[in-house]
Amino acid sequence: MEMKQILAGMVTSMLVASTVMAATKAKESDYYTITEVPVPEGVVLEAVGIELMPDKTLAVCSRRGDIYTIKNAWETPAKETVWTPFAQGLHEPIGLSYYDGYLWTAQRCEVTRMKDVTGDGRADVFDSMSSDWGINGDYHEYAFGSRHDKDGNMWLVMCLTGSGGAKSDFRGWCLRVSKDGKMIPTTSGIRSPGGIGNNINGDMFYCDNQGLWNGSSCLKHLKVGSFQGNPSGNIYYDLTDAIGKRPADPVSDSRIEIERKRIPEFVPPAIILTHGKLGKSSSGIEPDSSKGNFGPFAGQLLVLDQGFSNITRCDLEVVNGVYQGAAIPFLSGFGSGSVSVRMSPDGALFVGGTERGWGSKGPHSFRLERANWTGKLPFEIFTMRLSKKGWKLTFTKEIDPASVADVTKMLMTSHTYIYKSGYGSPEVDKSEPVIQSVTIGQDGKSIDLVVDGRVKGNVHVLHLPALTSKDGELLLHDSVHYTLNEFR
């Protein structure tokens, strides 16, 4: 008896020891699980739009033109799902929005709202709400639709013709379609979107992919009346006076920071998702609206990447009226090229994928998955906000003061991209800003960095490989990329 107790005690202490060991080598899967929502045999679900319908029904649209509704998609443990073909034969619909009793989608050719009036679960009414833009038969002329904003508008970002042309009306523009079908030109300067969505405050953003006039994939704020950086579509100012006069053309082989001084309408990318490092083809956007059900990051913006099959977490702030902020690696290992995303209020994050035509790290040609928080708190960089002399960082847990004592173990580099008419750009104007001092906040969960040599217009990459929590945990992700558009 005595012997047994001792043994049990030993086992317990060994377990504790191994838990600490495991914690220092934490994995994303300790905190977030990725579960496949199985697709019925014979269904090809290249999921590019996900929406929540009433009664916990999920709606998913596919590049092949189908929309399915799925019951039991977010039960834990997984339950058998029930699939109903809601619609079929649509023209590459991207994005779904449930609004005013209708399911809305953006097809390549039009904005459509659909309804089941006979009650068999399949739509019978297909109302064409707007088709006030051109298409010419080029595969690249995609239309991405958002969920409705508070005024009842669906926002659209219209991909260019091919990689760089604007051969059809309003290519390279963001348009809004009102609930009664009125089309409102909203911004110019779009290149090749990968997704569109609002942040937690309801401001609309989209992701644009590396290409002509775009050195790296990035998250951009769709401020009404703005120019987003690619001038190909600016010829269509001739068709509308909704957002004023055509802005000045940018000069190639320059920098965004320089050109936006000349072009007042130019809103710089809110967050540059450093190409090849955070991703390579950013796509779907979703704010964490779960109020804590999805973990500690409530209110932050989750941004998908098709090629990297991952999610980056974005912490935005507004400085001098311009969005900017931090991008932090969040969750990787999705099964296909992640494009569509939707969070349920109870904290299930649905992610849809397709790799067709572009490839992805995720090995499957298509996938529907669900990420859930395990309830365990990861040790992560929570926010990085600009201060007068540097940045203030907050963490999800209290930090070990000893681990930040040596500033030489905090590494910062910065870079930007050439802003040019050609495709992409290498990282240029590299610098190494110097961290002068670190002050730990009174809450024990934040640090103030005084940094010398910050560069306006650059992405600042901070590595914190030595920083640990009070319990000795290393950061789950020890780097953060901050896009600095404006100084305080």
Binding site: Y139, E355, R356, K361
Partner: protein, 592 residues
């Protein structure tokens, strides 16, 4: 402040990398990707040409800038010291906007000195990594090792440290080309290659085969002038040309075949293991294969390229092989391949047998069909129906494509409905034609117009919505409703009138037809409102109208149609007669 390396270089280095244009001293310009810089000078290759045509220009003819660019490339892409000259050049390029290599299989001999020339034509950066001997999984494993480099990957050109990596190019930007020199492995077998940029390897992959060359040895040819219709008895004929075929491959090119030639190929085929072998002999015109004095394949006579097979039991070791061949006139071709124990696919014994390479990808069919009780739809780019086309496959094997830009019936056909083969594969570019048969194309005009004079007023083009344009005309597509058979009723508006357009099957056994109903509602506009049904070589016959060149007959009810001559063509129009606030046109389309 430690080291603030802020160097604002406007017009930086990258621009030069993609230059396809080469200026000459005389001001003229050349265009092309670098194939090589050698004794001939700058050799450019035209990758848009199916034969990848090459042109050489002396370095002295180039402008100073172009010459410097060529010389820099030559320095960077020189063969390593002691390599000697390459025995074989393999050219692989990327297919623009396709995420593919143009060559997905190539073959080299063991220990052969090889130059791999990789050209990136795509906008995105790509590389090419040849792995050690293994299957496609090994290629993926090496690529995944590159993906695992994380945020260091890009700076390392996505080249992982991996013991199964054999040889690799750098990460090339658009229009860059690179030569990589290597000695082929001694071990025969398959060596996978991939692009290791994250996500690309699933699509960008191929296989290098290291093979011990041909099974044929001591191969010679003798060619003769010959005008007959059968493979001749060569013994009495006068030899025009003769020589060895050192490659060990039967070749019409080396033998100088042209119309009016006969050739006798003779050599030894060495069989690796005893067993049953099949020879695949195809030719234009005739050919015969004789093994150990016995005819195994007889593909004789004057004919287009035709393949015949012949099986034979062969012991391990050498066997005498003879191929007799002639071309009387026109095109010529000859290829021979062998399949047998342990061979996954026929092994080419001639230089013309295709073995992968720069082939067009075959089009695939992904059938989209209605069921017996429900229609199916396909909205996409449909050839002949515009960019906002709506295909409807009706139960019973009849189909229509409706154009939602101009509210018109664009196409009607019978049989299979559509294929997703174009739009559901790769990035999905192009227009998909109907999959079925008896396709009838209707007039590409708006359906309604008010005509001053029904007999002569030209059908107006002002309301027509052209491709690529936003909607400015009065026709507004409103969508459709589906009935219990999932058959749509299209809805549109113009000038305050509401119109519906419905197509239902009218199929009686073998006779295929469609009944169309057009309903107009609203206040009758001033003037004569007309509906345009068809334009072309139309004739009235048996109470219906026939469109020349088709098997289609149209009959109409509820209206008084009018056949009118317009220039050298005919139009079938219907002046709309309102009953109160409604008008209806019934049209039946029947394929006879």
């Amino acid at each position: 402040m430690k080291s603030l390396m802020l160097s604002l270089v406007l017009g930086a280095s990258v621009a030069g990398a993609s230059g396809l244009t080469w200026e000459l001293k005389d001001g003229k310009r050349l265009s092309g990707h670098i194939y090589d810089v050698n004794k001939q000078g700058l050799v450019l290759v035209d990758l848009s040409d199916p034969k990848a045509k090459r042109t050489a220009t002396a370095l002295t003819a180039l402008s100073a800038g172009a010459r410097k660019k060529a010389e820099t490339w030559a320095k960077k892409n020189a063969a390593p010291k002691g390599f000697g000259s390459a025995q074989k050049t393999i050219l692989i390029s990327t297919v623009p906007q396709k995420m593919l290599y143009d060559v997905t299989a190539f073959k080299v001999a063991p220990n052969q000195a090889v130059r791999l020339l990789f050209i990136n034509r795509d906008e995105m950066a790509h590389n090419l990594l040849i792995c050690q001997k293994g299957d496609a999984k090994l290629g993926m494993a090496v690529a995944q090792a590159a993906w695992a480099l994380g945020d260091k990957g890009l700076d390392m050109g996505y080249i992982p440290k991996h013991d199964k990596l054999f040889v690799n190019t750098a990460l090339l930007l658009q229009n860059e080309s690179q030569s990589v020199f290597f000695k082929a492995p001694a071990k025969t077998g398959a060596y996978p290659y991939v692009c290791s940029v994250p996500g690309h390897a699933a699509l960008m992959k191929g296989t290098m085969t290291v093979g011990s060359g041909s099974l044929l040895s001591g191969l010679t040819f003798k060619s003769y002038a010959y005008k007959g219709d059968k493979v001749p008895d060569f013994t009495t004929m006068k030899v025009l040309r003769e020589g060895p075929l050192k490659s060990g491959k039967i070749s019409t090119k080396t033998a100088g075949v042209k119309p009016g030639t006969a050739v006798l190929y003779e050599g030894t085929v060495t069989i690796p293991v005893e067993g049953n072998y099949t020879f695949h002999l195809s030719s234009d015109d005739g050919s015969q294969l004789v093994i150990d004095g016995k005819t195994v394949v007889d593909n004789d006579g004057v004919h287009a390229d035709t393949m015949k097979k012949g099986a034979v039991e062969l012991t391990k070791g050498p066997h005498a092989l003879k191929v007799g061949y002639f071309d009387k006139s026109g095109q010529h071709s000859l290829s021979l391949a062998l399949s047998g124990p342990g061979m996954k696919r026929p092994l080419p014994l001639s230089d013309t047998a295709r073995s992968g390479g720069r082939r067009k990808r075959p089009s695939v069919s992904i059938p989209i069909e209605p069921t017996e009780t429900e229609a199916v739809m396909y909205r996409n780019f449909i050839s002949g129906a515009g960019v906002r086309a709506i295909g409807v496959g009706l139960p019973g094997g009849v189909n229509v494509a409706w154009d939602a830009d101009n509210m018109r019936l664009a196409l009607a056909w019978t049989g299979a409905f559509m294929s997703g083969g174009k739009h559901w594969v790769g990035r999905g570019s192009g227009s998909q034609p109907p999959e079925g048969d008896r396709v009838v194309t209707f007039v590409d005009e708006v359906p309604f117009a008010v005509l001053d004079d029904v007999a002569v007023t030209t059908w107006p083009r002002t309301d027509f919505r052209a491709k690529s344009t936003m909607r400015t005309q009065p026709f507004i597509f409103k969508g459709y409703m589906l009935n219990e058979q999932r058959i749509p009723t299209f809805r549109y508006e113009f000038h305050g009138l509401e119109v519906t357009d419905t197509f239902v099957p009218a199929v009686k056994g073998e006779e295929k037809g469609i009944r169309r109903t057009i309903v107009v509602s609203g206040k009758k506009p001033p003037g004569t409102l007309c509906f345009l049904l068809a334009r072309g070589d139309l004739t009235e016959a048996g109470g219906g109208y026939q469109l020349a060149g088709t098997e289609l007959t149209m009959t109409l009810a509820g209206c008084k149609p009018l056949l009118r001559k317009v220039g050298d063509t005919t139009e079938l129009i219907v002046p709309i007669e309102f009953e109160g606030d409604n008008a209806t046109i019934e049209q039946v389309l029947t394929w006879k």
